[in-house]
Amino acid sequence: MSTSRACQVEICPDGPALVRGADEVVDSNGRAHRTTRPVVAVCLCGRSQRAPWCDGTHKVVTAAAPSSSTVEARVG
């Protein structure tokens, strides 16, 4: 892991997790998704059609859908 920057995760109430400083996000199937964005929104509701990224679907699904996704952010 790089020592020059920290990867930071911020959980948004009823929303996604904002992940700063990650180079890749590993989804619940173990598949790594690379990103070049400085901050990404990672789906926590499990309903995104662009998983692991949030696509706003949490706003139209009934509240309190339990999170089934487990994510791991890595700085390469």
């Binding site: 948004c12 929303g15 996604p16 904002l18 070049t36 964005r37 400085p38 901050v39 990404v40 929104a41 059609q49 662009r50 990224w53 949030c54 696509d55 706003g56 679907t57 706003k59 139209v60």
Partner: protein, 337 residues
């Protein structure tokens, strides 16, 4: 870009002053009634042109006229009417949100939910013809070719958390360090991909007043420091109502078989705006009101104006398409008398 075509006596007189070496104020009378200001072609194109002096300007207008006392005097009269119209459009929704919710985040969401979805995105996804989809891009080109520029005015007017969050959001809007990912450039590529003209301002003459009003609201909020709450509230509502429609717009572009550059623009916004929404609502607006409670009402003014103007502009668009008409103004060859 040249000055747009005048749409009535007011724009004719104001544009004539803009072309002169020493513009004089133009007496704006009679002003349209408050309820008519937003759809007034003559007033909205005049205001749009006056604001444009602070963005890209016009080849035929002296750049120094941005600060012409005569033009600014005229602009202020129009802005007073415009602000009254925007407050009248949004006051009830803002009052309801303030009564029913305590936190800014909840109030912003409440004014957004206060408006019925105009179903424009659904129509574009499932029903629009190629020509109607192109018209939609033409309407959107007025803003997306200067995407996030009006919000950038707010940066020097904010402090601490809201400033940092706005800068983080804007860094993404402005390409994240890559000129080819500048969102306005992505939109120009989408226009090209759809066989449209990508040049800045190319379609100003064919979009109706309500489309100009959605743009003028951002310029108005952005250019006035006292309205920094409103431009940030507008941003929060804009970003919060972007991800899901963009998915539909992208689906519509795929259904119609448009060039991938059209999908690319909207796909970018599904992911980017999911981030921006969180930043704009939770960090920028909530913390801004925590810092400056006096801005609370303006934050909601901006948020409500964003969704209500969008709905106002979408309704005649959908109606025209459903009746088999164009939603754009007739391409005028003749001058307005």
């Amino acid at each position: 870009m040249q000055l747009p075509r005048p749409r009535g006596p007011l724009s004719e007189r104001v544009f004539a002053e803009m072309l002169s070496p020493d513009p004089k104020p133009v007496a704006v009378e009679p002003l349209p009634a408050t309820g008519d200001v937003l759809a007034d072609e003559d007033l909205q194109v005049t205001l749009w042109a006056l604001y444009e002096l602070s963005f890209r300007g016009f080849e035929d207008v002296d750049p120094d006229h941005e600060w012409s006392p005569g033009l600014i005097t005229t602009r202020r009269v129009l802005e007073e009417a415009f602000e009254a119209a925007l407050r009248s459009l949004t006051d009830d929704a803002v009052d309801r949100a303030l009564e029913e919710h305590r936190r800014t985040t909840e109030q912003v969401l409440a004014v957004i939910d206060d408006v019925d979805d105009p179903r424009l995105a659904r129509y574009l996804q499932r029903e629009a013809t190629e020509e109607q989809y192109r018209e939609f891009l033409v309407h959107r080109s007025i803003y997306h070719l200067k995407e996030s520029d009006p919000q950038a005015w707010a940066i020097p007017r904010l402090e601490g958390g809201p400033k940092v969050a706005l800068a983080e959001l804007q860094y993404d809007e402005f390409g994240g360090g890559r000129a080819d990912r500048l969102h306005s450039t992505l939109f120009a590529k989408a226009l090209e991909g759809a066989g449209l003209e990508p040049a800045y301002g190319a379609y100003v003459d064919v979009v109706p007043a309500l489309t100009l009003a959605t743009n003028n609201a951002m310029s108005f909020f952005g250019l006035h420091r006292r309205l920094r709450g409103a431009i940030m509230g507008h941003l929060a509502a804009f970003e919060s109502t972007s991800s899901l429609p963009c998915r539909r717009y992208s689906g519509g572009a795929a259904r119609l078989g448009f060039d991938g550059r059209v999908n690319d623009y909207f796909d970018e916004h599904v992911e980017a705006d999911a981030v921006h929404e969180q930043l704009a609502v939770r960090t920028i607006c909530q913390q801004l009101v925590d810092q400056e409670p006096a801005l609370q009402r303006d934050v909601l003014l901006g948020a409500s104006a964003c969704v209500r103007l969008d709905a106002l502009a979408a309704a005649p668009m959908l109606e025209a398409w459903q009746q088999g008409r164009s939603s754009l103004l007739d391409t005028p060859q003749e001058e307005v008398a």
